[in-house]
Each structure stands twice: as structure tokens, then as C-alpha cells.
């Protein structure tokens, strides 16, 4: 274990320092945004500035603009948060195997008294400890920041992976992925590049295609109201999904439908609605067509209380995949030629 730690020390220290810098930044930003939100949501603003007396309106407008400006950097924090753990895991994994193969130090390591399996097991143990020690506090901090920044509900796609423990699971998965790729490609640069592409594909696939289908969605009815002011006419939807939920798809369902409609049914009914609205010129109103076709405008969403269930699903997926990759690498390492 000491040998592995000694080999990875510089990478771990570099990422630890980076984690400290990111944490400090997120902490300061979070505290600032938290204060702004507290003021903005308290009297006199109460989350709005229209209809207030002039002095209060100016103050609330200023608060709102400060929140808007702070929020501009939120996406940077989120991007760093999303990239940190996978990059840390991949770089550690590439250094653990591909770099040793390229430097030929693997010939030194594999001709010592310990077995190859023990050698790789030590790499896994030391690296997982490093990843957990650095990523766990960072995850905790990001989770706090997500709440403080009010950027989005923690269950939404945008920040789901950095709120909770999925980040730690991603780091461990990426380490195992880089180890396996390194055993086969044997080149650090290529291993890192392939690892990044593969992980990005898996992450995106998991977040956009798999995860929405793992939660139990609920239905929120949208009430479309036509409003006119001067020459402008528009609609606004009221009702809708709770603030802490993950909105999925908007569409239509039959009025007497009791169960949650499938995505394909919603798509089909939306097509029918569009066809109805376009059947005459000028186009028919949405409410007219909805009444004619017996449809209700709805939005599917995953309630916020399913956050930990989804965390366990996604985190569990990455951890199980990491375990399988580790098993594959422990088997393959006995066959690698040098």
C-alpha cells in the first residue's frame, strides 16, 4: 500500500489542493448566494419586486440582479463538480497501470515476490481510499452548495450527479475503467482519451436515458390560461410540478386517465393536438382542441422524495460496474505479457 501511495502521491496531492480551492470557492459562493436568497425571500421582497413601494422595489431589484450575477458562475461550479471525480479516477487509473507499462516499471513490480493480483489489489485499495477521502467531503460540500445556490432542485439532471454520493461512485468507476483500458491499450495518453470518451458516453446515456425510467413519475396537470395586454396575447401555464421535483416530459393524456401515461402515449396525443390546432386557419386554441379530443395538458415529474432512491440506483450502478471491471482486470492482469 505504501508503494502505491508513494507512486500516486503527487496526483493525489494535486487533486486534493484542487479540491480545496474548488471547495473554498463553492463555500464562499454558496454563503454569498444563501445570504442573498435569504434576504430576497424575506420581507419586504418576499421573492418579488413588482407592486412594492419604490424604495423597496429598487432594493429588491438590486437583490435580484445580484442573484442573477452570482448565478452566472453556478454553471462553472457545476461543470467542475461533474468533471472532478471522473478525471481524478481516470488519471489515477491510468497512472496505476498504463503509465507503469509504458515506463516498464511493471517489469520491476511483477518480478518481486508478490503476485500480480496482489499488486493490482493494492492499487485498487489505495486508490479507492484516496478517492473516497478526497471526494466524500467534496460531495458533501457540493450537496450543501446545491441547496445554498438555489440553482436547481437537487434531483434534476443538471446537478443530480454532484448532489449526493454519485460523485464518489463515479470516481471509483472511472478508476476501474482506466485500469482495464490501460491493461489493454498500454499507453497512458490513449487510455485517458478513450476513458474520457467512454465515461462521457456512459454518463450521458445513464443520465438521459436510464435514470428517468428508474424513478416512479407523478403527473401534474397544467392549466393554460390565455392573457391579453394591448396588442399582445399569450398563454401562461399554472399548476405544474413541485419546485423540488425533476420535470420530465410535457404532453397530454386522456381526461379520465388514472394511471401515469407512457412517454409514447403522450407523444402520440401531442401529435394529435398539434394536428387539431393546425387543422384550421387561424389555428385553433389549445383549450378548444383539448376539449374536443378529451385531453388534459400534463407534465410528468419525479418527486423530490425519490432523490435518495435514484442516488442509490445510479451510485449502485457505477459501484457494481466498477466491481465487475475490477474483477475483469484482476483476471486479465495474470495474462498480460511484458
Amino acid at each position: 500500500m505504501w508503494v502505491v501511495w508513494r507512486q500516486q502521491r503527487s496526483i493525489v496531492i494535486a487533486f486534493a489542493l484542487l479540491a480545496v480551492v474548488v471547495s473554498m470557492w463553492a463555500l464562499l459562493m454558496g454563503l454569498h448566494e444563501q445570504t442573498l436568497w435569504r434576504e430576497y425571500l424575506s420581507p419586504p421582497c418576499k421573492g418579488e419586486f413588482g407592486g412594492l413601494i419604490a424604495s423597496n422595489a429598487t432594493f429588491c431589484e438590486h437583490l435580484q440582479s445580484s442573484l442573477f450575477n452570482s448565478g452566472k458562475l453556478n454553471n462553472v461550479v457545476i461543470s467542475i463538480g461533474l468533471a472532478f471525480a471522473p478525471l481524478f479516477g481516470l488519471i489515477l487509473g491510468v497512472n496505476a497501470v498504463a503509465h507503469e507499462i509504458e515506463q516498464k516499471t511493471i517489469r520491476l513490480a511483477w518480478t518481486q515476490s508478490g503476485s500480480r493480483v496482489r499488486w493490482l489489489t493494492n492499487k485498487y485499495l489505495a486508490s479507492v481510499v484516496s478517492l473516497v477521502v478526497i471526494l466524500a467531503p467534496l460531495c458533501w460540500l457540493f450537496s450543501w452548495w446545491v441547496g445554498a445556490s438555489h440553482d436547481a432542485a437537487r434531483i434534476t439532471q443538471k446537478i443530480f450527479a454532484i448532489s449526493g454520493f454519485v460523485e464518489v461512485a463515479c470516481g471509483i468507476f472511472c478508476f476501474a475503467l482506466a485500469v482495464v483500458i490501460g491493461l489493454f491499450l498500454r499507453r497512458p495518453g490513449w487510455s485517458l482519451a478513450v476513458g474520457i470518451v467512454l465515461f462521457a458516453a456512459i454518463f450521458l446515456g445513464c443520465t438521459t436515458e436510464v435514470l428517468p425510467n428508474l424513478g416512479s413519475p407523478s403527473v401534474a396537470v397544467l392549466q393554460n390560461t390565455q392573457q391579453g395586454k394591448g396588442s399582445s396575447v399569450g398563454f401562461y401555464s399554472s399548476g405544474g410540478v413541485p419546485a423540488d421535483s425533476w420535470p420530465l416530459w410535457t404532453g397530454y393524456e386522456p381526461k379520465r386517465e388514472k394511471s401515469v401515461p407512457s412517454h409514447s402515449l403522450m407523444n402520440r396525443l401531442t401529435t394529435n393536438m398539434n394536428r387539431c390546432q393546425a387543422s384550421e386557419t387561424p389555428s385553433l386554441t389549445e383549450s378548444y382542441c383539448a376539449k374536443q379530443l378529451g385531453l388534459t395538458h400534463i407534465q410528468l415529474y419525479i418527486p423530490g422524495n425519490q432523490f435518495w432512491t435514484l442516488q442509490f440506483f445510479e451510485g449502485g450502478f457505477y459501484l457494481i460496474a466498477a466491481a465487475l471491471l475490477a474483477a475483469l482486470s484482476l483476471f486479465a492482469v495474470r495474462k498480460v505479457k511484458q
Partner: protein, 304 residues
């Protein structure tokens, strides 16, 4: 004759790298307690043989036994008994020398730290130096120290002296001889330096074109080879049992390096005892293995 236990035994051993053979039809036995040299040009299969013996490569054909065991990645016990020095002398460049020694200590139950520190102190290599700051020769010495301090029964050294200056080379050779004498360990080393072979090796394996062309005790090899100087082709009627290894033309005629299985003395020719270097060079010059073993009739046919 007392049968010796072998440290390395190969039967029809072969290693294929995709379409080309790195080593083929290798059959040899290296007895215990010897300093054996693997000699051959680049690409002849020396490193391949050593890597297979160290368990880094698996044979594609034949069998290989090292200290009586098959050196596959699963044989943990064997790795404790074998020390391997790669020709690239891989070391963790970011480590300090002391950390490299700790690496050796943590990975080898038979490690002797006193041996390691003494060896490095004799060479004036500071323990606090970073490996990357050492010269090529010093790095080679650290790598060799890692190998020796493990106190293995068998040392597999791939061109151990190639990066060393003449003094360090001399020291290394002396150290190896002392190692064998003190610990009764065996050494198999690959080298291009024929002077080293003559100086310290008592067993020689010559590889050419991925095949073994000579493998025997150095004394026996010297005893069974002669250089015959031929001035006139009429004198060519050599007795049976003589194998011509190499034929060389010079101003005064030709000289043949021959292998003789029986005592050989003939007044018709000038017969000299070759040095080990001359013999090894003759085998290496001939190159292709199918050129060995031809007898005097082949030479005669070629001449007339």
C-alpha cells in the same frame, strides 16, 4: 559423472510475437551454481528467454522450468527465489534511492537491507538522491542492488553491464562472482561483451537467429574446439567426428574452426586451441543454425 540439478531447463521452448518468432526450438539446461552467459546478436532471443524465465512472458511452445517450477504468473513462491534485472533497468524515477530500497524490502520477504545499503555505500550512491538525478550507470547499480538484496537463488540479468563504465563493469563482475561464491546462487546473464563471458562465466549459451546454437561448460567448449590452419586443399581429408563450425580465408590459406568430440592431434596441419571468444565469435558469424553440424565432406564439396 555427478548429475547436477539445473536452475533453468528448456525443452523445445518457443515464443512467438504475432507472426515472428522471438525464440524457437530452444532446448538447453543450465546447471545450478554457475554463472551462465547468454550470447547472441540483437534479436536473437536472449531477452525473450530471460523474460520467460522471470515469468513476464508465457511460452508459445515447449516447456520451461526454472528452479524446478514453471515460471507462470501464478507461481508466487518462485518469484521469491528469482531476481530479475531488465535491460531497461526500470526504476520509479520520482522515488529516492532509500524509497527504492523500501520498495524492495516491502515486496520481498528475503530482503537484506544491510546488503543493499553496503552495496550502495561502496558505490557512493547517496540514499537521499532521487533516482531521476542519478547517472545511467548509478541507476543500473541501484537496479542491480534491488536484485541482489532480494538474495535470490537465481539471478537473471539482462545486459547488466551495458550502461557501466569500465571500472563499474569490473566491480560488477567481481560482485557477481562473489555473490555466486558466497550464497551459492546461480546467475544467467545476457551480454554482448565476450570479454565478460571469458572473465566470469563458466557456462555459455550462444543464440543466433532465435535458436540455440551452442550451450555448454566454457571449459568443455574450449576443450572441444580447434583451429586448423590449411595451406593446401590437398590436406583436407579430415578424420571423421570433426564438425566444421567456421571457415575463414586469409593470405596464407584457410583456417577452420572445428568441433572435435574426441582427442585430436594431427601433424599434417597446424592445430591451435581457440579462445572462448574466438569460438563464440565463430558461432555468431556463421549465424544461421542450419550451417552448423556440417562435416568435412560439405566443405570438400564446396571447395572442389
Amino acid at each position: 559423472m555427478i548429475e547436477e540439478t539445473s536452475v533453468l531447463e528448456a525443452v523445445d521452448l518457443g515464443k512467438r510475437y504475432r507472426r515472428t518468432w522471438g525464440l524457437q526450438d530452444c532446448t538447453l539446461t543450465i546447471p545450478k551454481g554457475r554463472v551462465a552467459a547468454l550470447v547472441g546478436p540483437n534479436g536473437s532471443g536472449k531477452s525473450t528467454l530471460l523474460r520467460m524465465a522471470a515469468g513476464l512472458l508465457e511460452p508459445s511452445a515447449g516447456t520451461l522450468r526454472v528452479l524446478g517450477q514453471s515460471p507462470s504468473p501464478g507461481t508466487d513462491h518462485l518469484r521469491e527465489r528469482v531476481g530479475y534485472l531488465d535491460q531497461d533497468r526500470p526504476l520509479y524515477k520520482g522515488f529516492r534511492v532509500a524509497e527504492m530500497l523500501r520498495f524492495g524490502e516491502l515486496n520481498n520477504p528475503t530482503w537484506n537491507m544491510d546488503v543493499a545499503k553496503d552495496h550502495l555505500a561502496r558505490l557512493n550512491i547517496p540514499l537521499r538522491s532521487r533516482v531521476s538525478n542519478l547517472s545511467g550507470g548509478q541507476q543500473a547499480q541501484v537496479a542491480l542492488t534491488l536484485c541482489l538484496s532480494k538474495q535470490p537463488e537465481l539471478l537473471l540479468l539482462d545486459e547488466p553491464a551495458s550502461a557501466l563504465d569500465p571500472v563499474a563493469r569490473e566491480d560488477l563482475l567481481r560482485l557477481l562472482m562473489r555473490q555466486v561464491a558466497d550464497s551459492e546462487s546461480s546467475v544467467v546473464l545476457s551480454t554482448h561483451a565476450l570479454s565478460d563471458v571469458a572473465a566470469i562465466c563458466d557456462y555459455v549459451v550462444v543464440l543466433a537467429h532465435t535458436r540455440v546454437v551452442l550451450s555448454d561448460d566454457t571449459e568443455y567448449i574450449v576443450e572441444t574446439h580447434r583451429i586448423i590452419s590449411i595451406v593446401d586443399d590437398r590436406d583436407l581429408a579430415l578424420p571423421p567426428g570433426i564438425t566444421v563450425i567456421h571457415e575463414q580465408h586469409n593470405a596464407r590459406g584457410r583456417s577452420l574452426l572445428v568441433r572435435v568430440e574426441l582427442p585430436f592431434n594431427d601433424d599434417r596441419w597446424r592445430v591451435d586451441r581457440p579462445t572462448l571468444e574466438e569460438i563464440v565469435l565463430a558461432y555468431l558469424r556463421e549465424g544461421s543454425p542450419n550451417r552448423y553440424g556440417h562435416n568435412i565432406d560439405d566443405i570438400e564439396n564446396g571447395v572442389r
